[in-house]
Symmetry: D3
């Protein structure tokens, strides 16, 4: 069973919108080696897991899979920020508040930049597709049921994700893009370490080949700042009932050919989530004024309180 | 940010394995109107949401989207139970412990029942596909950015999910299948109520058309038991920080043309998750004996404790 | 601009339902060489046509494309008849009128015969998919813009359609299936003749290779009856304004290596369309009694009459 | 059974070609919420319809489905006009008449604008794909067999189509594009009205939420002109045998929260269809001169006259 | 540049046709981890290879990729043998020689066994699809351009292929199926060894985890016979110009945790290819009698002899 | 069984990189009418062939299919050359040697030109996709099993391939692109001749319609040079055992309405293959320096010699 908080796993730095950068980032969300895939692959591997004696491996998958849901949230929101109002609308503000008044074309940039679906199918938000517009496919999910194979695949998957994010980093200097890409480069390395370490417990010695790509990525300034914090050697469990045994695997020296030591924790603190503004020119006002008025006429009420055992959190 | 507990949202009743029933249930998992789709559709709608003034609607989507992750877990595990050892392997136990010893064919039923991929691609576990084997597609996710449209789509989506589950119920009397199908028939009605009620706050009056299909489904014995508990009129928030405002919408009389009243709660209690047994004939032992020995030679260790604010739960 | 009448282009002979035969017939509807494809391919070729001097070729495409819409109607309805109530529901009539009453399983045959989506996604009706469940794809449509190539492709397409229908004929002796398959074997030959003849006007001599497959198919009793009527040598224009010049091409000796002569006509007479009965166990009652009552309370009214020039037909 | 006339359902205003605008318009043709989908969805719903007592609903679907075939014709032809000769070929006319003479590159703009397939796979014509090049898919067609659900889906579908067309309008001021987009914005509203009204007959009251998006779109000048004619409140039957009962539903006050009244008619008058010119640089001459000569050597002949009952129209 | 001989890389043992087994084997041909994928993945990796200093790795990929073309030939032909005349046609021989004479149904088994497309779309031959009918997709090909990653992926790919073939072996005792499956289980292990060994040259030590699945498979009698010959430790270059440096990698002790030693050779001897008999009931006579007569009337002629340098072989 | 040499079938002329041209050329590789399709279609037709009496037709398919593997190699390598270093990286060489040092963006052109996957998923190499990014699909392969139909389809396929390559030629004057496109225009005509001639042996007379498109393409300067050599009338067998009987078909006057004569040969001489340089900014160094050192420390060794009968070539 899953829970959530209204916090983002990492901060998204504000910058100008950039639909081309947003489109590149779609690969990291809905691409064959993106976060939707890691999320669903690890969750399926966890749901279909066999052998209670191997529980620490199940728990490792369960925890990383849960983290990937938060990565989907992070990268989707970053794409939404990069498309929102992008890049600089032509014409007067009236064109935006009163779409098409007088025949203006506030969305004309959609014809030449990024993915036109960001403006036409969505309302300047993220889509479950890759950087050339292919929808995400269930055929991506790999779960052979053979633990060694599944771990090997996962190591390759995280390494490919990290490789692609290093390439995306080199495509744009937009700070919104880079704040998320840099964070994910480091977290992908943490997951590489997790799966490589799991294979080490089964007898594999990785020698000098890790991490993939073969760089700690300190040359990327935004990445360097996160490596300072040792974020590539920490793994979260995200378990509320403290039953995860992932820490039996994710410990001791990092397999990444540096001098790091692996440690686990429950979860990062996160940052509050902000809700985006309406976009009338997309007919995406959230609620239009007449409907909003209807709603607000309804009296406020407190949430009903119930008796389940999961009433954690600041107010409990 | 998302968390989890090692508990299933509802109990799965044991019965004989049945690969045909498992295949039918795949529609509810990876089909166009299945749980993977509701999960991802509501999460995308929540991530891309606009207008802070309409926050209760965002929170409603966020909470139902989080519940759907647990439904994916429930239905995937149910499918795994239905395929596990299915239906009754031919030949001696040796054939299973020593796959193909002497040329036996323990997996021959895969040629004629259900989805052969359950035995060939997976190791008798769930797959992200529908009941005819089409992989789940990102093109299913609908998120126009126009709130009224998104709510209307979601109402139609839940109603279609409920319709399909009623049809699946009529395809098999397997108790494992039915325990999950009956639960989801009721929860889909709760979600129908949620979206129908959200549209009521915007002025729509549904008259007599809800629920869809037009039955409270009491004729289904397993469903009747859950309706007794009023489970179709309760909605969970799954929020740990008690910030959800979904209860501003999900309250008052049910739109389902009965005399129910809508109320919210944080989460159900759930039941413990059990890990399945190894299947040597699938080469899915979890860990084979030699590797398991390697692992167990490693000393036990306690989980590292960290200082983040999310250390909820029994042991904190 | 397109019109319709409430008549089917050919009669569908009643017989027992047969979901396996229905599934085979899906290839002829939604398969790569089925009627949806011929319909859309010829319509696209017609819409994108170039060169007014070649108008007879455009009109030939336009007319056959229009006929194919009626073939889609015919084959879809045939599939619906073959799945309807199929094959013989188990249990009492109550199970059908009161779905799942007492936990019965009226739809259990869906687990083992034909395409489960006929019962689960549709309500025992036709689907836009092929015989292994792949959805129809726009990538099937061929329209190179080079007339010779388009005609060559169309000849191959009709011949393949005819080949596949001959094979389907050999898969089942169900009379409902065969009445439609036999009709389409003959019409596909008429279309083979049309495209082969169009290439003859451009100088090709087909020698002995036509028709494909190389048989007049008289050995198929249901086909023989239609060949008696010369239906393989007649082509319809379906044009209401009598502007089609297709008859400049479709005339003289048949290219099919027999002694037939090609002639054109406007349209066949057709037979009335019957609306299928409700299926309560699919929650497909058309309208449930309560809603039906609502509707019938509404007073009858005559259709508004307007002044457009297309008021053809019996009542005008 | 279906018929056609050589007339377009609405006029296409001439303007400069614009491949970027053509590509945006592909969404309205082959996109998930485009005209190919509405056409096939309503036709399938009509072919698979159950319950003769609910015939007016079947006839409503049948009529709108037939109209959508004409919309496919209109939008495909508009795309063909927008790509034809687009935007301004480089080099001398010789390059076009004698493709590649001296190595010139008349098609170089295909590398940077719109969809390269418009120039490479087609010969500057429409394709059955969406605005990012995904082929149309049969998986789009929704036909649950439950009438209320099908109507609800159709209402959502038309509203989404209208929303997307409003967005396309804001992307370009090309008059060819806009003449078709404006017409379809208004017709989509008529279809919204049709399905909303059908649900009203079953007891739903829409309050203030219609039309979606929440604007009569008078700010779009080309749309305003059509609203003047009340085109959003008229529905055509396109039936030649005058058996349609759609008018029992499509009547009385419009559900669109304005003071319109719904009325039915048989069909609009339409405008003549023009055949496009050859494009030698695409090797799409229709017929090349040598072949054309062959054809013209063939004597003219009149169309054979036949005796079927459908000989309507000016010449009969 | 590529060449071929009219010989199969391994013998196919005759047995009864079995369409269910044929369908299972499709996974090994057109599945996500089948031979079409390995063939194209290694060829693309070879064509796009970077760094002349790493030529032995390129040559290893080039050679295995070439072997996979022969595996595609082997497995496709095996499927064709398994479907040919399958399983035992009903009715008299006349039904086969004179398709549908008297309305018989020689192809009726296609409705209930294996993949109906084997009989309907193909003429009892192999298809480029997997075991649930999904067409092979270019999205399967992995070629990141990072050598370590590509090798890691290839190791996982061959291991998954071997795992799936072990499972197929356990589904049927048909000797035709097993002769090919057993051969490929052994060859997949040879390729596992190749990629594992390549990673060893880069410093990885595999410990005890190989081969995957963790068995030499001697319990499979047909496999044991091939292991006797050491076929799992031999790799072919298939190069005619003797330039391959793959032998610099594929040598020394096997990484498969046994006492084998890796060696290279040019190619196995192979066995002659036999052409299948006509199937009149599929309208697949090769040539029908009238056309065959036409052809045979043409005088025999010897092949033209040319002067290129590649005139190897018995007759040169 | 298949073999290879380390030679390209035709020379690739060097020029500036051009990612837009590379993308157009993808249609010729992974498009519906590209070389991957011809390769696999002819190989499947050859593997599934029926009737030993028709062996010359099988051998014709087998030989052209083998040639297409070399075409896939040629066109893939051409695309790799066109993307390599494209078009002119911004910033200092350091940015390339030390990716992202100081935050530079050497890959920024990927956001606006060609297919972003060339830089993000691949490392500036070819992909198995078409010019709009759709992955190659097994559904493209046509193999009805009816010889006349298969030949007719193949003729249409080669003609469409030639048409599309003529259009690509007109899109860019890049010499790298054109050297390959011109070669393939001529070879496609040779294959058109092959299939047209095969149908002539069965009695068809093509009159004036060939070749398609209707031009010998001498106006394309690069094509004219190859026509001088008569390359459009020569067909290769690529058979090492001299058993091909394709020459019984491919002989006598060309069906292409010119005065050419068809002749066969074994294979062209080809040109050596060059391995591309590393691209550090793609993390595609082949081997990074540390790993390369590891490898080179390993002593050189000669290839093992074996005794199979296929030891052809210069060194034997």
């Amino acid at each position: 069973m899953f829970f959530h908080v209204q916090r983002m796993i990492n901060e998204i730095v504000p910058d100008e919108p950039d639909p081309g950068a947003a489109n590149a980032l779609q690969e990291g969300l809905g691409g064959q080696f993106g976060e939707m895939r890691t999320m669903l692959q690890y969750l399926f591997q966890s749901f279909n897991f066999r052998n209670a004696e191997a529980k620490p491996y199940r728990d490792l998958l369960h925890g990383i899979g849960t983290e990937e849901i938060s990565h989907v949230e992070l990268i989707a929101t970053t794409i939404a920020r990069l498309t929102d109002g992008s890049p600089r609308y032509q014409g007067s503000p009236t064109a935006l508040d009163e779409p098409a008044a007088g025949g203006v074309t506030p969305l004309s940039n959609a014809l030449s930049q990024g993915n036109i679906h960001h403006f036409l199918v969505g309302a300047q938000g993220a889509l479950p597709v890759d950087a050339v517009g292919n929808p995400w496919s269930g055929s991506y999910v790999y779960n052979s049921g053979n633990l060694v194979l599944d771990l090997l695949y996962n190591l390759m998957l995280e390494s490919t994700g990290r490789l692609q994010k290093c390439r995306i980093y080199e495509m744009s200097s937009n700070r919104t893009l880079r704040s998320t890409v840099a964070y994910l480069i480091v977290r992908d390395q943490a997951h590489e370490n997790a799966y490589a370490r799991a294979l080490e417990t089964l007898g594999v010695d990785w020698g000098k080949v890790l991490p993939i790509p073969k760089t700690r990525a300190e040359r990327y300034p935004e990445v360097a700042a996160l490596l300072e914090q040792g974020l590539e050697n920490k793994q979260y469990t995200f378990d509320l009932d403290h039953l995860s045994e992932a820490g039996k695997i994710f410990r001791e020296a990092s397999p990444s050919d540096d001098d790091g030591t692996l440690t686990t924790a429950q979860a990062p603190e996160g940052v509050p989530i902000e809700i985006a503004d309406p976009r009338p020119e997309e007919f995406a006002p959230g609620l239009d004024p007449a409907l909003l008025e209807l709603v607000q006429a309804t009296a406020e009420q407190e949430l009903a309180e119930a008796d389940e055992p999961w009433r954690y959190g600041p107010t409990s």
